[in-house]
Symmetry: C2
Subunit: 246 residues, 2 copies
DNA sequence: CGATCCTTTGATATGTTTCAAGCTTAGTGG
DNA sequence: CCACTAAGCTTGAAACATATCAAAGGATCG
């Protein structure tokens, strides 16, 4: 809004650049997007199924998840978001949200009007393409989660989830290795992997005893990255990052 | 290519119009896309993980599926495609395919050069937006599959899958109700739902005994649509079709 | 600093898988 | 057009991974 560009939205630019090329003009235009910063505690709903959303939520700090509720009231977490992710880009084109967004940890987010995003896409086809590419990368992550839940046993599922969270932190510029933020309770891990919290606990214990990880309070330590990837049948290709990380 | 537009690609126009508005100009431009028609038998690979694809595959007749292979060699089917679907749109922006596409039945497809699709998007932002919206709808379907596999039991999973296949046939203009094409073997249903073929069989039997469906050779008959939807915890909203169907 | 939520562990129950074998259907070649 | 063969379907019995129930100890937060 002022002459030296506001740098609050920089994580969004960096995120898009992990998958697409952006010109200086476009980078600047993104930084200039109107937005409203918000700080929230853990376990707050940022959006709800059925909302007619007027803005998208860009994550600046902390972690959020997307979740669906079944007819029986069970919750399935379908994806996680962190620094640089737009948690509900689909609001740009769908008129009604079909899932909830909630904070897993304390978060700082920027709410960006949909109108502004669509105008930006219209003005710069390059931006439209970058968002489309990001939506496709999200789709690829969804496919991998379908595989994870459908074909892998508990140990593989949990190990795979740990790998994803750790690698995405790397790419998003978090500190590490080998120490990373662990943003989820065991119950939330259960909702993300289709397991019960009790079984998640037993699985964590096993991975700990195998010397792969160490889990203390709100952080993970990766003791054996190669071993953890093998345990989780993890191959980072599905994340579609251009440069290599970790 | 000639003056009266070739109508081969009409299903693609119709499909995009279930989710977006298209102008006459754009409709015509889509019909004029260069393409090559191909007829294939069931169980043929149309694309493979790792391919550097130069074109996208539009389904004209028959059914295909997207699948991933785990490190242990297990196959997870992540989505199904029929008349009007582009089976691998992500090839437009990703440079390497991360899944297989195979025919479930005999199929007729049109291979459309990626170059032509991207040029069309550049010329008509409206087309770019329609494709983006379609990618988002696919993402929504992936989320529902994650929910289906992660939170529902065998009976619900199978019933849900049947509902999806039937409703998508409705929207794509297939004949019915109550008779629809059933494009999958029980083993393929297992790979789509994270169940074993044996258990799929027992589940089908149960749905049959409950008077919900009748399954004969390559077709399903829906005996109780409301009951089947209830059994599958099915709510069509996630398919993001504008008009109502069924 | 109390109260709630989270983690940990044990014992038991259950849905789904695995193994195995017979049967049916569909496709293919003589 | 029939016979042969492979693929898919069906069913039963036993094994197993994960869910469920229950209860105690620890951490976190307002």
């Amino acid at each position: 809004m002022t002459s030296p560009p506001c740098m609050k939205l920089l994580p969004m630019v960096q995120r898009l650049e992990t998958r697409s090329d952006l010109s200086d003009t476009v980078r600047r235009a993104i930084l200039d997007l109107p937005h409203r910063i918000q700080n929230l505690r853990a376990n707050i709903f940022l959006a709800r199924q059925g909302d007619q959303a007027g803005h998208c939520i860009l994550i600046l700090k902390g972690f959020t998840c997307q979740s669906l509720i079944s007819g029986e009231g069970k919750r399935q977490i379908s994806s996680l978001h962190m620094r640089g992710d737009v948690a509900d880009l689909e609001n740009c084109l769908h008129h009604q949200s079909d899932h909830d967004i909630q904070s897993l940890t304390a978060v700082e987010v920027a709410r960006i009007p949909i109108r502004a995003i669509l105008d930006l896409c219209a003005a710069h086809p390059e931006v439209a393409r970058a968002f489309w590419a990001d939506t496709m990368a999200d789709a690829s992550i969804f496919r991998e989660w379908i595989m994870n839940i459908g074909q892998r046993d508990a140990r593989q599922r949990v190990a795979h989830l740990i790998c994803e969270i750790v690698l995405r932190q790397e790419v998003a510029g978090f500190p590490g290795p080998p120490h990373y933020i662990w943003p989820m309770t065991q119950s939330e891990v259960g909702d993300a992997t289709g397991l019960t919290p009790v079984h998640v606990q037993r699985t964590f214990k096993r991975l700990r005893l195998e010397g792969l990880i160490q889990l203390s309070q709100k952080s993970v330590t990766i003791l054996n990255w190669a071993g953890l990837q093998a345990a989780g049948d993890f191959n980072k290709a599905y994340l579609h990052h251009r440069q290599q990380a970790a």
